[in-house]
Amino acid sequence: MALVATPRALFDKVWDAHVVVHREDGQSLLWIDRHFLHEGSFHAFDKLKGRGAEVSRPDLTFGIEDHYVPTRVRDLAKIDPAIRDMIERLRGNASRHHLKLFGLDDPGQGIVHVVGPEQGLTLPGLTIVCGDSHTATHGAFGAIAFGIGASEVAHVLMTQTLWQKRPKRMRISVDGELAPGIVAKDIALSIIAAIGADGAAGHAMEYAGSSVRGLTMEGRLTLCNLSIEAGGRCGMVAPDETTISYLKGRPFAPQGADFDRAAEDWLKLASDADAIFDKEVSLDGSQIAPIVTWGTSPEDALPITMAVPDPDKAGDPGRAAHIRDAIDYMGLKPGQKLTDIRVDRIFIGSCTNSRIEDIRAAAAVLAGRKAQVPGLVSPGSAQVKRQAEEEGLDRIFIEAGLEWVDSGCSMCVGMNGDLVAPGERCASTTNRNFRGRQGPGSRTHLMSPAMAAAAAVTGHLTDMRPLLKGRN
């Protein structure tokens, strides 16, 4: 009897290749190809210590200093001892267990989700985990990548596997030509606004369609990065020629004939034409405008040409309560034009938007202009920083009056002390506008790097398109 292959989605092909054991109750023990760690991993290492256990596969485990690292001074002797302690704990654990660590003095240091792809550690067809929800970023290469908690980090450290239940599959198709200046951040925020911050809960997301295919690897990384803000377990884009040419020559990626063999396998990972998804959503890419958030959840996103919503006009009571609460926290009024919202500072950086393309987009708006408000620009990695400086982009930021600092998670989560003051409003290229995310009482508006640069130039939320006229 001939076997008829069931059509499979990209997610299923990668998942199936990693199942060590499948249990009748629906749980699978999955093999994990890459495990990234940062300073927050100390809880998991404490669990290992409690069991007297060793790291099972140090060769597949990589430490990166990013969450707590200072961005203005790199000398640990000069920083808050509590923060220094966090970095030293990671160093101690990495050295005790013989793990490769991208520390502050490593030319490859940076934000874990920028470093993985940059170093060629992130490859198509892999399973990748990290104790950080934005691990979804790595799915841009066609990997299954997701964030895990400390108990799971300890489990992966000890066994290099993880028990998981196969999530449902959801496909988001974005078709059509994007208007000039529209970037992945605008696509992602449009999707979240459309389906809600829990719209993809329990699902693995695949991004498809001509608008997605047209994105660079950097754009795809931004898109997959924000999957978690839609509630998705992970986000993926099928590998194609863009993926392959990005990976060629990366330090940890296969080389020569090995690379060619790999590339052949990777291109076969794309979803079969007749693959079935549990949920399908489509968006018209040509209708997407520059997006900003006004509230305290990433789903509180609107085109910059719109106004703050009115809770009295919201359909259901839960939503009305959320809007009322959010605009109260954010210090806004219903019906206020988004472009009338003044900002106190800007931040360009984070695992969402700190890659060279993001830095270039912000610089294109800022070149020859002065920022009306203070701001911090933190490139995603030491390598992005070097490249930006070679291109002279650092001078554009400095001449505009912004701070050009070293790489780390910085003001996205504020663990290292880069904070937005209570009551202050920040135009930010980050991923979360939660209450207090950038510091107690801080107010965050999410947007693309060019939009954050435009807010710097005018001192309020601004449509960047007129500011880009005649430039490129």
């Binding site: 829990d198 396998d265 009482g441």
Partner: protein, 205 residues
């Protein structure tokens, strides 16, 4: 891990949607080790004002909700960051069950790994539970064997992933379970090296 079968305790309404893990425990408290206890930091910036005094209008601060073991919230509870410290804060405070119409995926699995039940209810049932508590009800029964929640005369069903339910009912730990699969893991690794030779990281210079 402590097993969870039936819980009978004080419930507190938290009629907010998208209570994210940054709110459950703000990042600045995460430098502490677990041994120091995270309960004092649960929902810190909502529970306390800038001067550190309890906000009188915050539900968990109400006199009749002291010692609460259950929280009933609106949709998208525990969204955001993967920080397991958010669960530590709930558990160390004394919470054993959170009831909501939807949960952040990572938060829910972190919960189960710490013996905390994330009980999913229909949106309308969630609203009824919140209303009953706001009208003065205090005690709640959460029955994991029957997957039901009872407050006074109100009884509603909840769902939880069946595997998680079994894990909670038995207080199972994954690591022991996985260690018993070490032969299967070895066999997988050997076969995988042949089918995906490119999956190993090349040791970069």
């Amino acid at each position: 891990m402590e097993a969870f079968t039936k819980l009978s305790g004080i419930a507190c309404p938290l009629p907010l949607s998208s209570v994210d893990t940054d709110q459950l425990i703000p990042a600045r408290f995460m430098k502490r080790s677990r041994a120091e206890g995270y309960g004092g930091y649960l929902l810190h910036d909502l529970r306390f004002d800038e001067a550190g005094a309890p906000r009188p209008d915050f539900p968990l601060n109400a006199l009749e909700r002291q010692g609460a073991q259950v929280i009933v919230a609106r949709r998208n509870f525990g969204s955001g960051s993967s920080r397991e410290a958010a669960v530590y804060a709930l558990v160390d405070y004394g919470i054993r069950c959170v009831i909501a119409p939807s949960f952040g995926d990572i938060f829910a699995s972190n919960s189960v790994n710490n013996g905390l039940l994330p009980a999913k209810v229909a949106e309308a049932d969630g609203e009824s539970l919140i209303a009953a508590l706001e009208e003065g009800a205090r005690d709640m029964l959460v029955d994991l064997e029957a997957c039901r929640i009872v407050v006074g005369n109100l009884s509603v069903p909840f769902t939880v992933d069946p595997v998680w339910r079994t894990k909670l009912l038995n207080g199972w730990d994954d690591i022991d379970l996985t260690m018993s699969q070490s032969d299967a893991i070895k066999a997988f690794v050997a076969a995988d090296a042949k089918s995906r030779p490119w999956a190993m990281p090349r040791r970069g210079e």
